[in-house]
């Protein structure tokens, strides 16, 4: 998978960040993915993916003060950048094209 293509899990992380808006940070992104997809997400996988997306410039991170439920520890919040949005849109278009007419095949 090249640097410019979006991996499956990266896709989920970006979508979760988009959904959560300003409340998108590590823990909330993981919870969002787990609730919507039903899959368990490890902290390590999420941490590495968020770092990688930030490194590609598709996510923009900022440090904020955390609440009591995390012992007032800082939390790193993420916002999907314009480039991130563009990549998501392109990826969606490609997937939708592949999915066209396939619903009946999978009896979805």
């Amino acid at each position: 998978m090249g640097r410019n293509s979006i991996g499956e899990f990266e896709h989920l992380v970006l979508l979760a960040a988009l959904r959560l808006g300003p409340e998108a940070y590590g823990a909330s992104i993981i919870v969002e993915i787990e609730e919507r997809t039903g899959r368990d997400v490890s902290q390590a996988a999420a941490y590495l993916t968020l770092k990688r997306l930030e490194g590609k410039g598709w996510l923009v991170g900022r440090q904020e003060t955390g609440g009591e439920d995390r012992g007032h520890r800082a939390r790193r919040c993420f916002v999907v950048s314009d480039e991130g949005r563009r990549r998501l849109a392109k990826s969606r278009a490609g997937l939708m094209s592949m999915w066209a007419g396939m619903a009946s095949e999978l009896k979805v």
């Binding site: 390590a44 439920d69 520890r73």
Partner: protein, 871 residues
């Protein structure tokens, strides 16, 4: 309800995984999720989940962090800088590398030796091949396995449901006469073995086949020969199969040729079908079945023996059975000196590691100023630590590589020396630098990095710039100085112990040798004749052969002297019980003496002067009274009352039958009967004319340009062409081989002792040089106030020797204790290594003074003004 907290250890683990800037956010995310889970699923489950996450983080992130740290450490700039630092102080760098190399080379050599000695048979890595012995319950002595016991074991103890899959019997003969008649006669090491032996050992013939059980070819038993015998006697003729050779008087047909690298049990070259006679002296080799163990095999074999009739010559009702891996049983017979050398080499390793630690500690402390400046100029603590650790890593890598190289060379030299002068090395022993030695080298180097580099690196990276520059790096170094002095003290203790033990061993050996060989060995050729029963059934037959042979040799115009003896001079040979006939209890309770059976010419050939009475003569033969000559040690130790001449002695030449002889003379035999445990050994000489056993040695000297062996062969050709002469060596070669073991061990021990002392001195010099440098200012003040430089020198020398006194006292005490344990009180009054007790402390003190002389003298003579300026 109080807020649940995650397991603190897991939290610490997770915290280690992320860089400091991201740590808080990561831990916060984990904690938030933990709290949620604790609420919904309970604390216990949440705790387990947290551990899973922490471990997952560690697995995923820690390698990346380590790799990142490593990349920064070995960045080209850091490596260049570390190398430059090492090159700037070449002496200490070389000394540290050399010290570590020595510390690694010694145990590498010994471990290589040990792994070779304890190696497995080819194709038997799990040591399934076992040796089966019978031994007496009371005395623990081994009892020979009779043939009927072996047959019972073969029938009942092997098979699918038994511990052994197969079993073989063998009977070794250090010398079989092969050839004669049409072919020339030779003496070879030969083995009588059942055919299963070769299957157990997994050897395949390179020509022909292995003989079958009880195989007879037209009534002729079968044999196998080794490839070198095939080449020597048959020029690798493919038609060798089916040809016959005479072995110990009986014709055998060759059915197969075995590879040259096979020599079970120890460089044997011919193997024959077993000759089941009256001699029950069999050894048994077995192969464990599947998951069979020696213990289970022992029980099964023992139960079979218990059901058999009582064995002959066994004093207990049922002898015990011992089953152990063949290589282990073989190794058990090898010198315990090897184990001692391994212990000594480990001691040397400890001394070397201590030296390296003291050198590196001193380096680290000296460079605290430099480190403080680096930090002040913007260097991070990590960069400083990386630089210091990288220096030590480079030194350790160079030391390890050099140590392995030197260790390998020393190992090969040692093995070559052993093979040349001592024993034939069994075919399955391979000596090389295996993974245990490499692992040892890497472990030692790693420890050197940790101890000698890590600690100074940690301390140096915490140094405070202001205090370091102000106090000239003296602040906070008292702990380091005490540590260095302690290390030096330990080094001196260990090296003094080593020097004491090896010094005594060397001095004892030298004294023994000096008091030993005084007879003329130059120009004497020796050989061995085996007068086997099949050709010489009676003593008269043997005597006739010996007489005719000796006469023929002496008659040769090129021969100047010739003699026969059962034991060569200078060799410890036949130890027999010898007592006075009138003594109560008989010969069975008499002490032992060295017994030689010689022809009368032996005394003049080796310059044995008679001090009382006469030597043996040609008239002492036939039916005349049996006579004996004894040496002066025998008179001193056994005949304390009354005259020696005319006394009757009894010699236990064969069990239960004393040989009575009258003493007719006393001789001085300097070294002919060798020393034992530092004492002259009592010796007895009997005459071949009255007693002639089956094995005798021939000795002769010839004029220049004449081959003694050729003369012997020519003489034998007309008397008995079937009789080969074996073990042909010069007398000097024989003596060298006899002394090589102790010489070699003394050389190795002495080398270790000297190396240990050198390493200690290296550490001492390094530490003292550092201390003198630190005290330059103080010395300058004292000199400026009028202190005499000689007094300053004396005081600092004594101060520098403080750890040496303590170490020396402890080391000498430990050395004396160790010697008592090792040697006991067995050294005789003629031999007392007093010199070692005096020389060892003298050498240690003198060498230590030399080690600290230069830095002390330099500091005490320094210009007070310069010293005060420089600080």
């Amino acid at each position: 309800m109080s807020r649940a907290c995650p397991p603190w250890l897991a939290a610490r683990l997770a915290g280690m995984c992320a860089p400091p800037s991201e740590r808080d956010a990561l831990i916060g995310d984990l904690e938030e999720r933990f709290v949620c889970r604790a609420r919904s699923r309970g604390r216990a489950r949440a705790g387990r989940w947290y551990w899973g996450q922490a471990i997952g983080l560690a697995v995923a992130l820690l390698p990346r962090r380590i790799a990142s740290a490593f990349r920064s450490m070995v960045a080209p700039g850091t490596v260049r800088s570390a190398v430059r630092s090492l090159v700037r102080s070449p002496i200490s760098s070389l000394v540290a590398t050399g010290t570590l190399a020595i510390g690694i080379a010694a145990p590498t050599t010994m471990f290589g030796l040990l792994s070779g000695i304890t190696g497995s048979l080819p194709g038997d890595p799990e040591d399934r091949v076992v040796l089966v012995n019978l031994f007496e319950r009371e005395t623990g002595t081994t009892v020979a396995v009779p043939w009927h016991v072996f047959e019972a074991w073969r029938e009942q103890a092997t098979g699918p449901a038994r511990a052994l899959s197969s079993i073989a019997a063998f009977q070794s003969d250090a010398g079989v006469s092969v050839g004669g008649g049409d072919a020339y006669a030779s003496r070879y090491k030969g083995l009588y073995a059942t055919s299963e032996l070769f299957r157990i050992l997994g050897v395949t013939p390179i020509a022909g086949r292995i003989y079958g059980e009880d195989e007879l070819n037209d009534g002729i038993p079968a044999m196998l020969i080794r490839a070198d015998v095939w080449e020597e006697r048959f020029d690798r003729d493919p038609g060798v199969i089916g040809q016959t050779l005479r072995v110990d008087g009986e014709r055998h047909v060759i059915v197969g040729v075995l590879p040259e690298d096979f020599g079970f049990p120890n460089d044997y070259v011919v193997w024959m079908e077993p000759s089941i006679g009256s001699d029950p002296n069999w050894s048994v080799l077995g192969e464990l079945h599947g998951d069979g163990t020696p213990t289970v095999a022992m029980e099964q074999l023992a139960s079979i023996v218990a059901a058999l009739p009582k064995l002959e010559r066994s004093t207990s009702d049922v002898p015990l059975v011992r089953v152990e891996a063949f290589t282990k049983a073989y190794w058990g017979k090898t010198d315990e000196e090897i184990a001692m050398l391994v212990r000594i080499s480990i001691l040397l390793m400890v001394v070397a590691a201590a030296s390296v630690a003291s050198i590196m500690l001193a380096r680290g402390v000296v460079r605290m100023n430099e480190t403080a400046v680096r930090l002040a100029l913007g260097g991070t603590r990590g960069q400083v630590m990386a630089h210091l650790i990288l220096e030590v890593v480079i030194l350790a890598a160079c030391g390890a590589a050099l140590g392995l190289l030197v260790g390998y060379g020393a190992l090969q030299a040692l093995v070559r020396n052993v093979a040349t002068y001592a024993v034939v090395i069994p075919y399955w022993m391979n000596f090389g630098i295996g993974w245990p030695s490499v692992l040892l080298a890497l472990t030692l180097s790693f420890l050197a990095v940790i101890v000698s580099g890590g600690i100074p690196a940690l301390r140096a990276s915490n140094v405070n710039l202001e205090s370091a520059l102000r106090s000239g790096a003296n602040a906070g170094h008292k702990g380091s100085v005490r540590l260095m002095r302690f290390i030096v003290g330990v080094e001196v203790t260990l090296s003094s112990t080593l020097l004491m033990v090896t010094g005594v061993a060397i001095e004892t050996a030298i004294l023994s040798q000096d008091r030993g060989i005084e007879f003329t060995a130059d120009g004497v050729l020796t050989g061995r004749l085996a007068l086997e029963e099949f050709d010489y059934p009676t003593e008269e037959d043997r005597r006739e052969l010996a007489t005719r042979f000796l006469d023929a040799v002496r008659a040769h115009p090129s021969v100047t002297q010739a003699s026969l003896s059962t034991v060569l001079p200078g060799m410890a040979g036949s130890s027999r019980r010898v007592g006075l006939a009138e003594a109560p209890g008989g010969v069975a309770v008499a002490p032992r003496a060295q017994v030689r059976v010689v022809d009368p010419g032996f005394f003049s050939m080796f310059g044995l002067d008679v001090s009382i009475g006469r030597i043996l003569s040609a008239s002492d033969a036939g039916e005349s009274e049996r006579v004996a000559v004894v040496n002066e040690a025998f008179v001193r130790q056994r005949l304390t009352q009354g005259e020696a001449l005319g006394r009757l002695i009894e010699v236990e030449l064969t069990a239960g039958t004393p040989y009575t002889a009258r003493i007719v003379g006393v001789v001085e035999d300097p070294g002919v009967t060798p020393f034992s445990q530092g004492r002259a050994s009592p010796g007895v000489y009997l005459t071949l004319s009255q007693y002639l056993p089956r094995g005798i040695s021939v000795m002769s000297t010839t004029k220049a340009g004449t081959s003694g062996l050729q003369v012997w062969n020519q003489s034998l050709a007309t008397i008995d062409p079937n009789l080969p002469i074996g073990q042909v060596l010069t007398m000097n070669e024989v003596l060298s081989r006899a002394q090589s073991n102790s010489r070699r061990n003394n050389f190795i021990g002495g080398t270790f002792g000297v190396l240990a002392l050198l390493l200690s001195l290296v550490g001492l010099n390094g530490v003292h040089a550092f201390l003198m440098e630190r005290r330059t200012r103080e010395i300058g003040i004292r000199r400026a106030l009028g202190a005499d430089s000689a007094r300053v020198l004396r005081e600092n020398l004594l101060r520098g020797l403080r750890p040496v006194w303590i170490g020396l006292a402890l080391g000498l005490g430990a050395g004396i204790l160790l010697l008592r344990v090792m040697v006991g009180n067995t050294l005789g009054p003629e031999l007392s290594p007093v010199l070692s007790y005096i020389l060892t402390p003298t050498i240690v003190i003198a060498a230590s003074v030399l080690a600290i002389w230069s830095p002390t003298r330099g500091a005490s003579r320094a210009d007070p003004l310069e010293a005060l300026k420089g600080g």
